[in-house]
Amino acid sequence: MAVSPPLDAKQLDNQVEHKVVQDATCTFCGCVCDDIDLHVEGDKIVDAKRACVLGSSWFLNHEIEHRPSCHIDGNPAEVAQGVERAAQILAQSKYPLIYGLSDTTSESQRVAVSIADWIDGTVDTTTSVCHGPSGMAFQGVGEVTCSLGEVRNRADMVMFWGSNPAESHPRHFTKYSLMPKGMFVPNGRKDRTAVIVDVRKTKSAKAADIFVQIKPRSDFEGLWTLRALAQDIELDADQVLADTGYPLDKWQDLMDRMKRARFGVIFFGMGLTMTRGKHANSEALLALTRDMNRHTRFVCKPNRGHGNVTGADNVVAWRTGYPFGVNMSRGYPRFNPGEYTASDVLARGEADAAMIIASDPMGNFSQPAREHLKSIPYIAFDPKETPTTRHSAVAFTVATYGINVPGTVYRMDDVPIPLRPAFESPHPSDLELLTNIEKRVRELKKQQSAVKKHRPSLRPA
């Protein structure tokens, strides 16, 4: 098992090795670009060819962290001690929560779900505060969808609703959706119509042919306006303007273009899921997409944020039958967003211990959730120091997936992609730590079961 790494920077400098890692995979955002050439000098990436601004920042800023691999209660400790403490916290908890998982490999996600099963815990991923409402909508409506490769080769009508890829997925336009010359769109951008629907004129709006600026919190109304127009239902122009902030004749023009398209796609973002309406907004968009298939081929796809958040959905789904917010306390999985989702479990003060893997709820959860998390013992895994690692009982500094660690991640269109690491890290991987914690948790749970069996029963024979 790995121990705290040596901190001698001079020794590391003397062993500088130059190499190029071809077709490395960037795991910063859901695009998961796997065509990056990394120029590596020793334990530092000095150049990332073809990476976007976020990808470059991802690769160039993940050097080896010269700090201990483990802290217990803020003090440096051996990794083995951290594993033991983590296992004790989880095994003794009555309502443990395992959360995060969107920035780690699917191999690690698989083990984390196993731990949740052994400890009768709740497992949730960052999906719940990202496209969780869309996950609920998928179950209600279904998803007419396709891969990004199909978008690249076929889509001549590309819409973005509540999504700003110019800032969040900088290569989305150039690699998949707007610019590429595809099999059925040989002229690339010239063959495509780009539409942005948003409440503010984002950087993405500047790349669009049509910018639809709607009222804040009126996505539901806008989507149902389009659903009505798709079915040629007559609408009141004044009411449409009042409800959506966008005139009916322009909605009609947009619908006409959508009907004329040969292959349309709607990418949607957290502008839909994080605002009033949430899953009802996503349902409306999924239903609109389904409706459009009476006229032409139309698909939709959530623009997923973190590198392997789609993998988290997939892994949790094929381990438990549900994509996120799963509770195992009865010995079988139960799914109920709002009840078993991390934000709720914490804000209501229910969890009495937690294990946070590759996410930062102390940095981005609501204040009541953050306050409760701070009050309970929890374990945190992260390559860097974050507000979450700072307040944890056990903090592991881990190797970075995709840079130091191999494995599998899922692109936002559910396509699994292998990782090609650039250099090794002295820190342990999430997988290594989780495997050891799982092993120890099973031992502790076995001991607890043995004690329970020998406990005299108070019930009459």
Partner: protein, 183 residues
């Protein structure tokens, strides 16, 4: 503490038009007056103007000066991603880039002008769930319509979010009703 000015007295402003419509002519006149007086004597501490962005007026009943109003305007806050915030995460959340980006409120240029704000001024945002103080900057050109505020996801936006997810697992994180108070 509010920066306050003299003599607006009792104003009764109605709701005017669209959500993004700027304040009514009465409000504009009052704001102009406020800006002029603020420039001429910024330390004058006499009255408190309460003017919501959509034209609603709010008095502070608990004020020791019953005829005084506090400069409070209602807005809709849209927290969101920025590429600079993303780069900041990679550099480290305690580093300058992330801290700067997530602690900077973008205000529409027209709202900046109407409220008499300049880049770097600090405002207090209050939602139903929390409060945060943050410096402001004018949004680029027409990126942000009047009546909307934007901030990169981070500690400030989290402080203004409620814990209830309405059975969805997702707290309402965008489109938050906030009141902006000039400090």
């Amino acid at each position: 503490m509010c920066r306050v000015i003299a003599g607006l007295g009792k104003l009764h402003l109605g709701y005017h038009g669209n959500w993004w419509a700027t304040t009514s002519h009465l409000a504009r006149a009052s704001r102009k007056s406020y800006n002029q007086r603020r420039k001429s004597n910024p330390n004058t501490l006499v009255d408190k103007t309460s003017m919501s962005h959509n034209g609603r007026l709010r008095t502070h009943q608990d004020s020791p000066h019953s005829d005084l109003f506090c400069m409070v305007a209602s807005f809709i806050l849209i927290p969101g991603r920025t590429s600079r915030q993303g780069c900041g995460i990679n550099e480290g959340k305690f580093n300058e880039t992330y801290q700067q980006e997530t602690h900077l409120l973008q205000v529409a240029p027209s709202d900046m002008e109407q409220l008499g704000l300049t880049a770097g001024d600090t405002v207090r945002l209050t939602s139903d769930f929390g409060q945060a103080e943050v410096p402001v900057i004018a949004a680029k050109r027409d990126e942000l319509p009047a009546g909307l505020l934007f901030i990169a996801y981070g500690d400030i936006s989290s402080r203004l979010m409620g814990g209830d997810t309405h059975g969805s697992g997702m707290p309402t994180s965008k489109g938050l009703d906030v009141e902006l108070e000039i400090l």
